[in-house]
Subunit: 355 residues, 4 copies
Amino acid sequence: MAGNTFGNLFKLTTFGESHGVAIGGVLDGCPSGIEIDLEAIQNELDRRKPGQSAIVTQRKEPDTVEFYSGIFEGKTTGTPIGFAIHNTNQKSHDYSHIKDSYRPSHADYVYDQKYGFRDYRGGGRSSARETASRVVAGAIAKQFLPEIKINAFVSQVGKMRLEIPYQQLDFAMTELNPVRCPHPETAAKMEEYIKSVRKEGDTIGGIITCVAQNVPVGLGEPVFDKLHAELGKAMLSINAVKGFEYGSGFEGVQMKGSEHNDQFNQDASTKTNYSGGIQGGISNGMDIYFNVAFKPVATVIQSYETIDKEGNKVTTKGKGRHDPCVVPRAVPIVEAMTALVLADYMLLNRTIRVK
Amino acid sequence: MAGNTFGNLFKLTTFGESHGVAIGGVLDGCPSGIEIDLEAIQNELDRRKPGQSAIVTQRKEPDTVEFYSGIFEGKTTGTPIGFAIHNTNQKSHDYSHIKDSYRPSHADYVYDQKYGFRDYRGGGRSSARETASRVVAGAIAKQFLPEIKINAFVSQVGKMRLEIPYQQLDFAMTELNPVRCPHPETAAKMEEYIKSVRKEGDTIGGIITCVAQNVPVGLGEPVFDKLHAELGKAMLSINAVKGFEYGSGFEGVQMKGSEHNDQFNQDASTKTNYSGGIQGGISNGMDIYFNVAFKPVATVIQSYETIDKEGNKVTTKGKGRHDPCVVPRAVPIVEAMTALVLADYMLLNRTIRVK
Amino acid sequence: MAGNTFGNLFKLTTFGESHGVAIGGVLDGCPSGIEIDLEAIQNELDRRKPGQSAIVTQRKEPDTVEFYSGIFEGKTTGTPIGFAIHNTNQKSHDYSHIKDSYRPSHADYVYDQKYGFRDYRGGGRSSARETASRVVAGAIAKQFLPEIKINAFVSQVGKMRLEIPYQQLDFAMTELNPVRCPHPETAAKMEEYIKSVRKEGDTIGGIITCVAQNVPVGLGEPVFDKLHAELGKAMLSINAVKGFEYGSGFEGVQMKGSEHNDQFNQDASTKTNYSGGIQGGISNGMDIYFNVAFKPVATVIQSYETIDKEGNKVTTKGKGRHDPCVVPRAVPIVEAMTALVLADYMLLNRTIRVK
Amino acid sequence: MAGNTFGNLFKLTTFGESHGVAIGGVLDGCPSGIEIDLEAIQNELDRRKPGQSAIVTQRKEPDTVEFYSGIFEGKTTGTPIGFAIHNTNQKSHDYSHIKDSYRPSHADYVYDQKYGFRDYRGGGRSSARETASRVVAGAIAKQFLPEIKINAFVSQVGKMRLEIPYQQLDFAMTELNPVRCPHPETAAKMEEYIKSVRKEGDTIGGIITCVAQNVPVGLGEPVFDKLHAELGKAMLSINAVKGFEYGSGFEGVQMKGSEHNDQFNQDASTKTNYSGGIQGGISNGMDIYFNVAFKPVATVIQSYETIDKEGNKVTTKGKGRHDPCVVPRAVPIVEAMTALVLADYMLLNRTIRVK
């Protein structure tokens, strides 16, 4: 209830602060009998980890996951999967620049107000470090759903937008560049741009597009738990996300019903897919695709004026090794949350008919 | 679990098909001692009801709510509030044009696939008629939160966009025109446009902007139940919604961190509000504002080709009295869902400190 | 969350006060495609209703259920089943004897303290009238589980105990006498005894035994949601229940492990069944049986001294037409709650394996 | 949902198999600002641990808990408390005697049937070792509720029953003997009896009585989440529990209403307390007391005939170091679960009034 659990049946609960002893989680409700590829899980974590390229934070965190339970002789057992990622980066940091002041557009002020308390070490629970636990669970969800293909990629950085429809992209190219944009020319420009932003000590936002293919017909629970509503919540729960749209999205409001309606082919596939693979909150077998907007991260390496706990003005300066643009590292997180939603709704969908 | 419940503590469960005996719901967890203004509830329902103006569906449904429990001597008692809205419009309709065929971009096909079954009477459970129950519960939530001001309005119809910042609008004007756009000149143009679309037998999409003011600091549960994540889910669960963005939203991805960061005033308010009143998933006391994108409704009064259950091609034609543009009637629904989220998170927030 | 919902997937939410407009509920998560026998549902309600025999309350409440949604053309549709039972007994009662005083061992005092408020009309929400909604939902659960046989019966009234093992009883005889004890001689004695208690204006407690047969192996979720833990909660949530035991129960504590262990037959059935059909919280295919203890109901038709809201002593007297012994009418309630648990756990059990 | 989570707001999720890498859990919803006494937590664990006396299993498991998150500078932060207890006892055991056969009255057979799989190492998830995580969380709950006094003790072993009312006992004596019975003479007899049972290689059941004092008026949610219903579920979820009764319990069925009713004093306390501190599912400020029945544990050190996976008869023999009587070690578990329920319901009770 306190907000650290996601999912109804395939259910992840996470814990951990960015500079505490460990982060981790419990994945409950994962069906028994899934063959687990541990390397594939670690590979997903590596896609998210800091220090992997020149355009992300240069912090070094190995992010090695240890499993404590729920996997036996290479398979899931049906019991909860407990896991932890120990923080190796706990050495005495200097937090004096943030301990007593509130960084703008961070969660410092609201945590203090809400809990009467604040873990000032690197953001504590509000740090995106927490998403590593989601990536672990999402990697297991992917292994539960081998037939479903989930591909996220960076489609916009700042004003630079990839205008090519996803159908014309080769998702295999996403991992070939540090931006995780599957169009090499665009990726190169984005990379250069991010580097220039980093030099200014600044940050820039972006958009991730995600495509889920081979999703069976029927996933989604009316009325409040529509499939896209849960996907939306999943994405909006990721740090720095400001918006979610699926199918025709915000552009679609300009269309007329007669053009927006997806006409059926005789096999019940549709000629267009403005619906984004979901109708009435239920998957219709077409590709599910959506966009996720990320704001520029708040930590800039520039001096700024802010206030302390007592409301005094203070001048401070961001420091440390932070991400100039969050989207390249957020790609595996978007995929992980998509996988968690689909796994959960796959299980829910087993329960809705008399037999 | 089957998706007809919304909220954690302030919790609404709804039932009912568009052409069944009645729709309604149970609002559980509503605190005791709230003085209930029944007229205000009916007024919200009237804002949503069909037939209220020339630019919405001309169906006549009085939508009178009956309360069965939970209110005694004018106040809530703390016990569940059961209510029903009987359908007066159940007379023998002619559904032959849709009974055996799947309307494009409706939920007909997916319901049939999911449940092995389909209630072909006017959309059954997938009809937006269900949202009347949300409006009832939302009206009660508003009465629980008298200090919070929730104002939604139509900010875009098709390509027509109200470019004036909400701070310069007078929300009292929203109800003065049938479009529910608080800017009379823009409203008049939108109205004319919707009428022209209706004449074509077509439909058009739009955007609703919602502003919640006087929200206390501290609402929102890290990490999965961030306030904006729940708001996003709430909005995306409304029929025809394709997108949600808050604060700087999709536009914000083009900004740099140095401009996007909301600098503090000494009273901990912020000079700008790109954050949209929420930081780290927790309200910071500034205005919460967000946009909700609605697609053009699928029912067009034009003939079209589609398929039947056996996959045969059939030609049919929409008929009946449907909404050319859903956004004017969706304004009270957006407000209701906002109120439900805020009421729920207000209660959750009572539980997070030792005293 | 506020306690008016039962079940995880097969989920009942109820509403209603004993003397309000109506009681009722929403059954969500009921699978689609169940053929519904409405007469069988009404029959279960009739087993619970007041006035059915000389040893239960003589109030007349027809308790006719109306269904509002979720059933179409004789089958469940997968959408929520809304229903209501209107209270016909709302005419101006005289509550002056209880309005200002707290009846001992009723919920009057605690409701007032908890909610700052109290519905003094016949107990309001704390009345056992609420259980009628459970019986409706339980009757649907039974129709979802036609192969499972659930039989409850009265096994003790006061000190009178039916000592015959359930295996030697003919459950078909339960309904042949007003006590609902399937052993006619014992039933006759119990009936006479209850009549004598009624003459004194007093009440007496009793025990209901319930047997569930043909339950498949595998129902029950470790570790907190063990099958018997959920059954126990279900029973303890019924008004007046003070205890629950299953299998060997409280007697079993006197046994040694070597005698208590249920040895296997070669077909994996067991030679004895001290386990009560559940091992490690999971059904093992043997009969599930348990006992439910009901206290004597608190309303006695005798004068007594008590206190009013201000703590003044007052002398008052119970009146009206109340049950001298609650167990005969509670038999269908015990069965209903058993059916709800088994239906829910049957659905949960569909989700626990990879395929 | 898969059953490894307990609580609504103060919510514990546990993981871990008896012979896996670690057991542990996540306590979410624990309010911020609780001063944590780590020694007190470890002390509770030590009360539960094996090897602490001559009448419990002689296995040596240090059961040292490590906290990973949620506690900072000695206080809870409001974020989830992750913790683990590493298993030190993982060395290569010989499981050949149980790997291929089903031990009677254990969970071996049902786990295999349910999950298609079985962790044969010492019971895996079905082992009572899991309850150590509950004790950790319960110890934190106790620190959240310093004013409430929770005292459990052994009141029966086999046929030996402590007949003295709890009001005449000195709970401080409970910890002074290995049986955890606060009456030294009875404790000495029980201890001797347990030793004799152990010599036979057999086991014996028992009853734990628990008393919660200073519980405020108002805890408990009608109708399904009555306080005693949740306590009952909590207790029944503990390994080996077969029954739960509170207040007058099973004995109370023999009483008449006129004697069972708890008459009020002028301060709203009651002259008797057959209600067990709970009326209508809500605490009334009087002592809450209840009994929990534990069966004799299934592992006996005797040879027995059973079946293997293929249904062949096999003869085997229990071995290892098991508990001849589980109740002495279960006392802290009963207290922990009581504390978890009360903490949760204390938080729920903050949300039920308009202010």
